[in-house]
């Protein structure tokens, strides 16, 4: 398996204070890699560094071998880096389907006027996207909710919509920022099932979480972040037993 996303010694300072310090990790395609750590460890900062929201103070980010450390956020998205957000930002008054369709945006080829005039090429593409969206809804078990207003649905449903939207862009890399926060075990487990399928399709998945139990069965490899530094990495079982890791979680 190729290593789709690589971080080399990534560092970010905020006014002299290192929020992220010398983090190196690899996110191979077809697997779920976990980045865990107590609250405030710098996990979201890492995501922001990868997705182009923050400049790197030091280090490199490589996507398929190419240095994307200085690439701006929109270009990274178009290169196939997708992410979900800790606080869900859907369009509450739009339907579930419309929210998911927004994710297909980067693949749209027909222009503004073609759509307005209802040209056959635009209509064909719209049908294709709609079909793709419905497939995603099927996968996530939400087909009956397609026309529901996204804002009227439960938190669990909204999380799924956000996930579908991120997947709609058919990314190479998917960064999941605490995707099961606030969910019960059953719901979290059904999402885990979907993550496994996504990885199996060849996507490089980086799962950011602070819930150890959840990531244990899901990830092939874990990286543990505390106070901006990697304190452990490796097989989930080994990492889970590492006293340094246990201390970091208990002491935090």
């Amino acid at each position: 398996m190729s290593t789709t996303l690589v971080l080399e010694n990534v560092t970010r300072h905020f006014g002299g204070v290192p929020a992220v310090d010398g983090v190196s990790l690899e996110v191979p395609a077809g697997q779920i890699t976990g980045l865990i750590g107590p609250n405030g460890a710098g996990k979201t900062t890492v995501v922001n560094l990868i997705t182009g929201i923050l400049h790197l103070t030091q280090g490199r980010v490589l996507l398929d071998g190419q240095d994307v450390s200085k690439t701006e956020a929109p270009d990274l998205a178009r290169a196939g880096v997708a992410r979900t957000f800790q606080n869900i930002r859907l369009v509450p008054d739009a339907s579930v389907l419309d929210n998911v369709l927004a994710g297909f945006h980067r693949h749209e080829k027909t222009g503004l006027w073609a759509n307005l005039l209802g040209l056959p090429s635009a209509r064909a593409e719209a049908r294709q996207m709609r079909g793709g969206a419905m497939q995603l809804l099927e996968r996530f078990g939400m087909t009956e909710l397609a026309e529901h207003r996204a804002g009227a649905l439960s938190y669990g449903h909204q999380r799924r919509i956000e996930m579908m939207r991120a997947l709609a862009s058919r990314p190479k890399v998917l960064l999941l920022d605490e995707p099961v926060a606030g969910m019960n075990d059953a719901e979290a487990e059904s999402l885990a099932h979907i993550f496994r399928k996504v990885a199996a399709d060849g996507v490089a998945v980086l799962l950011i979480e602070h819930n150890m139990r959840f990531v244990m069965s899901l990830c092939s490899r874990l990286y543990v972040l505390a106070s901006g530094r990697l304190i452990a990495q490796g097989e989930p079982d080994a990492v889970g037993r590492d006293p340094v890791v246990v201390e970091a979680y208990l002491g935090a």
Partner: protein
């Protein structure tokens, strides 16, 4: 405060012209562009139209088209610097633009006749033609808003970072929204000119700026219907309740505050959302989504 009309114009004409102005304000706000410049583009459209017809004897409808093009052109030029701004800075910059246009129309007496305004503009726009234009514009905007363009605008408005993460080009959509807004406002101004016999600089000042904002806040800024409802209500309210005409500004001010605090989505948008929810709740009520049983037991088995 707003002296947008003189007593020769029928209420329906007022409403129709205001609907276009509200549409202009809606387009930018839907995209999350905080532009208050519609009044300025309306002034450009109106004065261009009025001067072409009165001073050069042009055909009124042709003048309106040119007025609309002027609004479009200026908004296209402004879109470049203004699309780099956000929030209150965009608002104040567009506010300054409105004031600059107002200063120009008031002080450039040689061209615009100053505070006396332009008079004896041929009344070429009847209610029927206004209605036709508004319907055409509404159809156009509904089409634009329903598909990928509207979806992109909505995502950008909700959260730009999310939009960027989906590969949506924020500057591109902001600019289109801005130019469209300028075109619609220019059209509104031009039509106002040929439907009200005379225009003065004050018609397009702070009063109109606030009116446009109030219409969209009241009605809703995420659907076209919001703009239409807001224009309808705010234009007819002073006519239906005579007492409000005197206190128009106070009423508008109170409405702005009350609506944005207690009904932030606006009348039309709130009703539309409510109707959508009710209609769908009547169809199959979906159960709580639980994982397929097979998967769950497989997992619990593997963990123990």
């Amino acid at each position: 405060m707003i002296n947008f009309f003189n007593t020769y114009q029928s209420l329906l004409d007022h409403i129709l012209v205001n609907m276009l102005l509200a549409a202009s304000q809606y387009v930018v706000l839907r995209a999350g562009v905080f532009s208050l410049g519609s009044a300025g583009f309306a002034a450009l459209g109106a004065y261009c139209t009025a001067l072409l017809t009165t001073k050069l004897g042009w055909n009124p409808w042709l003048s309106v088209v040119v007025g609309m093009m002027l609004g479009t052109l200026v908004s296209a030029l402004l879109a470049l610097p203004l699309s780099r701004l956000r929030g209150v800075f965009q608002a104040v910059a567009t506010l300054a633009f409105v004031q600059i246009v107002l200063s120009a129309t008031q002080n450039w007496v040689a061209l615009t006749n100053g505070p006396m305004g332009v008079n004896s503009i041929p009344h070429a726009a009847g209610t029927a033609s206004l209605l036709l234009i508004v319907v055409a514009v509404v159809v156009f905007l509904v089409m634009m808003g329903r598909y990928s363009f509207g979806r992109a605008l909505d995502v950008i408005r909700e959260d730009e970072t999310v939009a960027v993460s989906l590969g949506i080009s924020v500057p591109y959509y902001h600019r289109i929204a801005f130019v469209l807004s300028g075109a619609l406002a220019g059209l509104s101004g031009g039509l106002h000119a040929i439907s009200s016999y005379s225009i003065t600089p004050q018609d397009y000042g702070f009063g109109l700026l606030v009116a446009a904002l109030a219409m969209v806040v009241l009605g809703g800024r995420t659907t076209v219907w919001g703009a239409l409802v807001g224009a309808l209500v705010l234009t007819s309210l002073p006519e239906v309740f005579r007492v409000f005409a005197d206190y128009r500004a106070v009423v508008q001010g109170l409405l702005l505050m009350l609506v944005i605090i207690y009904l932030p989505r606006g009348l039309a948008d709130t009703v539309i959302a409510h109707l959508k929810d009710r209609r769908l709740r009547r169809t199959a009520a979906p159960p709580v989504i639980a994982a397929p049983v097979g998967v769950l037991t497989a997992q619990t088995r593997s963990r123990s």
